[in-house]
């Protein structure tokens, strides 16, 4: 794939990737991280699966967000190793629009937030979310069901 071909194919995904990032990092960081996503995508372009370029980009973007947060905050690895990764939107960012939802959102597990965010914000189907998260569609379906149920229960409280 030539640079021109890559650009033609991936330029259309710039906005959804930017919004994905904007939901998870400061707006001021979006452009730099977006560039980083496409740099990595270019260098790993042979790994992309035709028709699933966007979920693949979301997966890369998830790593980029995780790395960006890591750069921003360091902790000792022993403590860190006890918790799973999280690149979902923070409760604070959601609180701007819906405080009750934000409070419930904060009580979800990291995996539940990540799955729910990809479906609700990015609008992905189960198979696409699975590709973005690097897990099976089965696991996404289960996580999504649990996340919805838990969130609904939390919102009742």
């Amino acid at each position: 794939m030539t640079p021109d071909e890559f650009s033609a194919l991936y330029r259309q995904h710039q906005t959804p990737i930017a919004k994905f990032l904007a939901r998870r990092v400061e707006f001021s960081e979006v452009e730099d991280l977006c560039s980083e996503v496409f740099e990595i995508a270019w260098s790993k372009r042979v790994d992309a699966v035709a028709g699933f370029e966007l979920p693949w980009l979301y997966r890369i973007a998830g790593f980029v967000v995780a790395n960006a947060r890591r750069r921003a905050t360091t902790r000792n690895r022993f403590i860190a190793s006890l918790t799973p990764p999280d690149h979902s939107p923070s409760a604070e960012s959601i609180a701007v629009a819906d405080i009750a939802l934000a409070q419930a959102w904060a009580k979800l597990g990291a995996a539940e937030r990540a799955t729910l965010a990809l479906v609700a914000f990015e609008g992905l189907r189960v198979e696409e979310a699975a590709a973005a998260l690097g897990i099976s569609a089965n696991a996404v379906s289960i996580r999504l069901h649990r996340a919805r149920t838990k969130l609904a229960e939390l919102l009742k409280d």
Partner: protein, 518 residues
């Protein structure tokens, strides 16, 4: 009943749609204007990536980068790392440690490097873990502090520990030659009539849009095989009795009610073990009844679990390869999982002594592997590796008709759905995990002195620094640990489990320096 379920389902779907809509309405990117981004962002990224690729880092640069990374890593992973008063002092200590380690590996030159693990910046545990902390500290605020351990450990070698080195086998987990046949064999044995079919993705397994495994609707067994990671298969059969026996349809709520069952009635412990042995024999693993742990909870759920032992090892040797079966309160098999990879013996390799293992457990470089495995009392014996190929010979004829074979699974006749899914392993085309690289974390300095990089937004978010506790390790047990290399391949390597009395602590790889590349 079906109408009620359908009605409930539509109400539930409606509620779910409303919930998703509410989440979507809180989109944090609402104020973000993507049109402000550079129109040439993608082209610029390609140009930058191409430029970087055309100017490879020099060997000296790579060494310097590695040292810087190790310094940052050591600083991050050792909250009690003894720091000098200046950055240069820390760098000197770390550099000596790095080159010292390299020398040991070189001197032990008889040990070939079998595989290389992903670096701390290459995507997995450390980067993700830290990001989680960052997010948690933001999202959960002060609540995070309550979750943190109040202490960490400094391991000390007890007087009874040995200084003798040894040797143990290392195994790799390789894809099955015929995963479809493997899964079909299990399906045939369990009485699942639908044929195995390929999943949508090469390493993703089932498309579950049309089935809801946890929606309290009984039926629709799902038999799935994954070729990623260590490779595994699992069976899920949603069954009401694992949740409850009745469904309330008031206001669309689905609520399981307690089952009037005789707890611990079906299957019996002996029958559970027999079913366990027969099922996994179909997949090439042999277990003895004494190796299997069976437990029953108050709801009548029966679970059986065992770990595979390795043919070359006698005695207790935890393999990290778990096998399990679960039955609901009426004795119906509702879940099972096992290994779907081929164990390949890579030969014998030198292992470090118990005393050296203590030093390794205190070394941040080795803590990366995580030593917090769960131990079980029972350990099964694995069939000889050479016998593993027998699993491709087809279903076990007549096994399901024996007295202790699992009861045939009743499939729903009204709405037969896809049952067994299979993901091809012959020509995987799925997207690998991108090797996202990150810059080494720069050490923050202030006036030349090293400062704590931990941001403290306010007192609410302040995380406690764990207290260091000295733990005298009085004995170690050898086990096997799964480690993924930089390419995603899984290895089973000998590892020491540290004990102080009856308490288990860290677990560290036992191979001599140089066998694992960093």
């Amino acid at each position: 009943m079906n109408e009620n379920n359908s009605h409930n389902g539509s109400l539930e779907n409606s509620a779910n749609d409303e919930l998703l809509a509410r989440v979507a309405a809180a989109d944090p990117s609402a104020g973000f204007d993507a049109s402000t981004l550079s129109a040439t962002l993608v082209d610029d990224a390609i140009a930058h990536a191409s430029s970087a690729a055309s100017t490879p880092q020099s060997a000296a640069g790579r060494v310097a980068s590695q040292i810087a990374s190790r310094i940052a890593e050591a600083y991050q992973t050792r909250p009690r790392f003894v720091l000098g008063s200046s950055l240069s002092a820390v760098a000197a200590v770390a550099a000596i440690a790095v080159f010292g380690s390299m020398s040991l590996g070189t001197l032990g030159g008889s040990q070939r490097t079998l595989f290389t693990v992903a670096g701390p910046n290459e995507g997995q545990a450390p980067a993700q873990s830290d990001s989680k902390i960052a997010a948690n500290s933001i999202a959960a605020g002060g609540g995070m502090a309550a979750m943190l351990p109040a202490f960490t450990y400094n391991y000390l070698a007890g007087s009874s520990l040995s200084s003798d080195t040894g040797s143990e086998h290392i195994y790799s987990l390789e894809p099955l030659a015929d995963p479809a046949g493997f899964l079909q064999n299990i399906a045939d044995y369990l009485g699942i009539t639908q044929k195995v079919h390929k999943g949508i993705y090469a390493d993703f397994t089932t498309a579950l849009d049309e089935t809801k495994p946890f929606d309290l609707t009984p039926g629709k067994p799902q038999l799935t095989l994954s070729t990623t990671g260590s490779g595994g298969w699992w069976l899920e059969i949603p069954n009401l009795n694992i949740y409850g026996c009745a469904i309330s349809s008031d206001a669309g709520k689905i609520e399981p009610q307690p089952c009037p069952v005789e707890v611990a009635s079906k299957p019996s412990i002996d029958d559970a073990k027999t079913q366990f042995i027969k099922l996994f024999a179909q997949t090439g693993f042999s277990f003895e009844a004494g190796d299997i742990q069976v437990s029953k909870n108050d709801a009548g759920i029966t679970s059986a679990y065992a770990q595979a032992n390795l043919a070359t090892r006698k005695g207790n040797a935890f393999s990290d390869l778990g096998f399990s079966m679960t039955w609901s309160s009426d004795g119906t098999l509702v879940a099972a999982n096992g290994l779907a990879s081929k164990l390949v013996d890579q030969g014998s390799f030198e292992t470090i002594s118990e005393v050296d293992a203590i030093a390794r457990a205190n070394d941040p470089k080795w803590q990366f592997f995580g030593g917090y495995g769960i131990l079980v009392d029972g350990v099964a014996k694995r069939a000889p590796v050479a016998g593993y190929g027998s699993i491709e010979g087809g279903a076990a004829a007549g096994s399901s008709s024996s007295a202790s074979a699992p009861a045939p699974i009743a499939l729903p006749t009204a709405t037969p759905g896809p049952v067994a899914s299979y993901v091809a392993g012959d020509a995987p085309t799925a997207m690998p995990i991108p090797e996202v690289t990150a810059e080494p974390v720069p050490l923050p300095t202030e006036g030349g002195a090293l400062v704590d990089p931990m941001p403290i937004p306010n007192e609410t978010f302040l995380l406690p620094t764990p207290e260091v506790k000295d733990i005298v390790i009085d004995h170690l047990e050898l086990s096997w640990m799964q480690i993924s290399d930089a390419k995603g391949k899984v290895w089973l390597v000998p590892a020491y489990q540290l004990f102080s009395g009856a308490n288990a602590y860290a677990r560290v790889p036992a191979m001599a320096d140089g066998i694992i590349g960093f």
